[in-house]
């Protein structure tokens, strides 16, 4: 059964100040109601004053997603009562949004390129936040924190062009990545992105899932909804057209009994702000290199594989990191960053910005001049990352290598180990001469164990074979 998905994505813009006042947006580690003023508290008489930086950021996004920017856009009031909404209305954009009709290219489930149409992008303010105490501390009241009140948001609305939860996830990853390249968004901030998803099975009613606040959550919520809707249909029930809320903790969607479809927001133009001639600003907006362009450049400039380029440019910080360590051997660097480092970071739940590029370049240099084996390289990397994860200062990999004596066994030591192993295992030597191929591998394994991985297996194999051949002679 064909699945139809459209998304409404709210992203917090990372401007220094709020959308309509000078309060700082950097509130996450601070006590409640400390980043507030008459404007964002909606004290009587206070007026909104538009933060032009937020408009500039939104225009960057509109340009990057190929939208048509309006000649003139306008703010409107969306009226509804809720305690986290201090004015009793949200300043947003309604019938004259900032930009309309854009397109984003992603990979479809079958790997082919696919275009997702963007309906519109508009600017609006975030409401405050309600704090409910639950469980044992459950109180007979809720608290309101207005630190978030007035944080600039862009709402991005897609056409119903997505066909699976995985596609939706890929779209969001692409979007997030693009917004980060534009330096208008910090996806790591808690609550920085919130998604409402419209989902239906062809021929059936549409359901809106609200309140999804993570990338994984979107995929989970959609997967749950598809299963739920298919089951309903299989049982002969029609799908109710409704709004459902996603419960992140339980991974399910629940019908919200509120009569939201009956809400009348009584939109009208915000009389405290003038219409905005945004088209005129557009010429001053220049875009940085975006993910697709950077990917193409990585392949061309560094000669790395398409897959590595995609992985590396799929996260701006990772791509920046890669370009710092690519050095003389960008192919080697790509393999180590994309295949090894990423896995080690994920395992430790660490972010790339915790890794000093100079440390990693030091490791790559050791590998490149063949001073250590790949295995020793991984060991040194793990030691360094473990130190970082434990909050200690990270050692340079070359220091780790020296401390543990991980430099490649070479010269006398190398020859000695090979000779010892041959000496110690006469049975294996005999097997070798009797044509048992496994015997050489066994001897190499023993030698590797002796050197604790410090020797290159191929070199050891060659040396042991030499010894064995000489022995026979």
């Amino acid at each position: 059964m064909k699945v139809i998905i459209g998304l409404e994505i709210h992203c917090q813009l990372n401007t220094d100040t709020k959308l309509f006042c000078g309060c700082s947006t950097d509130y996450r580690d601070d006590p409640p109601n400390t980043h507030v003023c008459p404007v964002c508290l909606a004290l009587p008489g206070a007026l909104p004053r538009l933060n032009t930086k937020a408009v500039e950021y939104a225009l960057r996004v509109a340009k990057a997603l190929n939208l048509e920017v309006a000649e003139e856009c306008e703010f409107s009031r969306k009226n509804y009562f809720y305690p986290d909404l201090p004015k009793g209305y949200q300043i947003t954009q309604y019938d004259r949004p900032l930009a309309e009709r854009g397109v984003v290219e992603i990979e479809a489930d079958d790997g082919t390129p696919k275009e997702v149409r963007i309906t519109r992008i508009h600017l609006e303010e975030d409401p405050g936040r309600l704090v409910h105490r639950s469980g044992r501390d459950r109180a007979g009241y809720s608290l309101v924190d207005y630190n978030r009140s007035g944080i600039p948001l862009i709402e991005i609305v897609t056409e119903p062009d997505l066909r699976s939860p995985k596609e939706a996830r890929r779209f969001l990853n692409k979007l997030r990545n693009t917004l980060e390249y534009l330096e208008v968004f910090d996806g790591e901030r808690e609550g920085a992105i919130r998604v409402d998803a419209n989902i239906s099975l062809v021929g059936h009613n549409r359901v809106e899932c609200k309140n999804i606040s993570s990338y994984k959550g979107v995929e989970k919520a959609l997967t749950f909804e598809i299963t739920r809707q298919k089951n309903q249909i299989a049982r002969g029930h029609e799908i109710t057209r409704e709004t459902r809320h996603f419960n992140e903790g339980r991974g399910i969607t629940m019908s919200s009994r509120s009569k939201e479809e009956e809400t009348d927001y009584r939109y009208f133009p915000e009389p405290d702000l003038r219409p905005l001639r945004v088209r005129d600003w557009l010429d001053d907006i220049t875009l940085p290199e975006l993910p697709d362009a950077r990917k193409a450049r990585f392949v061309a400039q560094y000669g790395i594989s398409h897959n590595h380029a995609r992985t590396l440019t799929g996260d701006m910080k990772l791509a920046n990191f890669y370009e710092k360590v690519a050095g003389d051997d960008p192919v080697l660097a790509a393999t180590w960053v994309a295949d090894t480092l990423l896995g080690e970071l994920n395992y430790r739940d660490m972010k790339i910005d915790r890794v000093p590029p100079a440390h990693f370049a030091d490791l790559l240099a050791l590998v490149r001049v063949d001073a250590i084996t790949d295995r020793s390289g991984v060991d040194a990397l793990r030691t360094m990352l473990d130190e970082g994860a434990a909050g200690e200062e990270m050692e340079l990999p070359s220091a780790v290598v020296d401390r543990f004596g991980l430099r490649k066994a070479a010269g006398d030591e190398f020859d000695e180990v090979a000779a010892q192993v041959v000496e110690a295992h006469p049975d294996a030597v005999a097997d070798y001469h009797n044509g048992k191929g496994g015997a050489l591998n066994f001897l190499v394994g023993q030698a590797m164990r002796e050197t604790r991985g410090r020797a290159d297996a191929r070199d050891l194999g060659r040396r042991i074979k030499e010894l064995l051949e000489n022995k026979e002679a």
Binding site: L43, G45, A46, P271, D272, L273
Partner: protein
């Protein structure tokens, strides 16, 4: 120069909601001058109620832009004056703190909604006061109380700190005993403020001039039509004749869109008010909430209990006008009508320098005289057009009918506040006191 002003004037008219016994003041053009501020303008540290019980006890932590400017010039702010709740009225009877009476006749209203400011000036308690004018709220009480009141060009005075009733129409303006005082106060409060996105950077520095020779004055037929008391009309015609004898050229003209002005005005102001007043939910300011209920029940009851009847009526009217299915019929049409009024004024004001007529169709009403809301709304017919058009308008006393003051209204082009002040000044020099 700086010092303390002791304010001991007796308030026989209930002009003040809040008053101080002594006010400190600094140096400047207004040093030591006692000034009253309408109670819908935020004053740091001084209760600001908007004439509503819903804001009783609310003490703003910040000053409105105009109040900052008054303090910078050394004014002694002696109190906050009474008004129709949130500015919604033409008599100051709709105040949560009791009505203000007219100093000329305590059986009559002072006009509204800036009735407290007008009465305080007329009674001699203060020489000047700030009012606000959404549909005539400065000019009406100025006319009824026999003082001068200016509604500036929309955008000329910052609204930052003015508790909004109808954002797209209202302006803060000066009220005083003389045109010169009103001009002085205008010079102080007319200063650009980036916090109000609708304010223009057009300062006011102007000494009034009585020279009006050769100036053209348009007299719209609509300002002397049905509903205008003939005695008031005659008084105003005499005043216009005085201007003519001082050298002005008088021309008949017409503003046909005035027919729709009242409807456009009431739909616009109630729509905006329904949204502006949503913030009064009892969460952050106003009287404390006693019993614990769900928030949804609580805020509804809170609003029902603390908003007055006229406020509730206008909030409901505005909510209706903005509702899905009615927006096009009411709000959108009102905006078209508003634009038509603006264009009509622009057209007429291309061929004449100012428009003149009565400020109010009658003299001050007796208390209770306008008991049904509609007849009250009708009395705003001559003042609301200037708000819809956004143009400056001044009311200057021009005589008496039945012993009560009558106001001459002079309306000018956008940003020609100086011109309407000059014409008023010329009349003040020539006309009867």
């Amino acid at each position: 120069m700086a010092g303390t002003f002791h304010f001991d004037a007796e308030d026989r008219s209930n002009a003040f909601i809040t008053r101080v016994e002594s006010a400190t003041f600094g140096d400047g053009r207004l040093a030591g001058i006692p000034l009253a501020v309408k109670d819908n303008i935020s004053t740091r540290g001084m209760q600001t109620t908007c004439g509503s019980r819903i804001l009783e006890g609310y003490i703003p932590p910040y000053d409105a832009h105009v109040v900052e400017l008054l303090r910078e010039e050394g004014a002694a702010i002696v109190g906050k004056t009474n008004l129709d709740e949130f500015g919604m009225g033409t008599t100051t009877e709709n105040s949560g703190f009791g009505p203000t009476t007219n100093p000329h006749d305590p059986a009559r209203v002072p006009g509204g909604s800036s009735g407290g400011s007008a009465a305080a000036v007329a009674a001699g308690m203060v020489p000047m006061a700030l009012g606000t004018d959404t549909g005539g709220s400065i000019r009406c009480p100025a006319a009824f109380c026999g003082i001068v009141g200016l509604k500036p060009t929309y955008g000329r005075v910052s609204r930052y700190g003015l508790i909004a009733y109808s954002n797209s129409l209202e302006q803060i303006g000066p009220m005083g005993r003389s045109v010169a005082d009103v001009g002085t106060l205008m010079e102080v409060i007319c200063r650009h403020d980036a916090r109000d996105s609708t304010s223009y950077d057009r300062g006011y520095a102007h000494a009034p001039s009585g020279e009006i020779r050769g100036m053209t004055i348009g007299i719209p037929a609509e300002y002397f039509g049905e509903g205008v008391d003939p005695a008031v009309a005659e008084c105003v015609r005499d005043a216009i004749a005085t201007l003519e004898s001082a050298g002005a050229i008088v021309e008949e003209c017409s503003i046909p869109s005035m027919e729709y002005a009242l409807a456009a005005y009431y739909v616009t102001c109630t729509s905006e008010a329904s949204s502006n007043l949503a913030r009064f939910d009892g969460v952050r300011y106003g009287p404390g909430v006693g019993t614990k209920r769900s928030w949804h029940d609580e805020f509804q009851e809170f609003r029902g209990e603390h908003f007055g009847r006229e406020v509730q009526r206008r909030v409901m009217l505005g909510t209706f006008a903005l509702s899905a299915g009615y927006y096009g019929k009411y709000y959108a049409k009102a905006q078209v009508a508003k634009e038509n009024v603006r264009r009509d004024f622009l057209r007429v004001l291309k061929s004449v320098d100012v428009i003149a007529g009565p400020t109010m169709p009658t003299i001050a009403f007796r208390f209770g005289e306008k008991s049904d809301p509609l007849s009250m709304y009708l009395s705003d017919v001559l003042t609301v057009p200037a708000n819809l058009a956004g143009v400056p308008a001044i009311s200057v006393p021009c005589g008496r009918v039945e012993g009560m003051p009558v106001g001459l209204q002079i309306i000018g082009q956008h940003f020609a506040d100086e011109v309407v002040v000059d014409v008023a000044f010329a009349f003040e020099q020539e006309g009867p006191a």
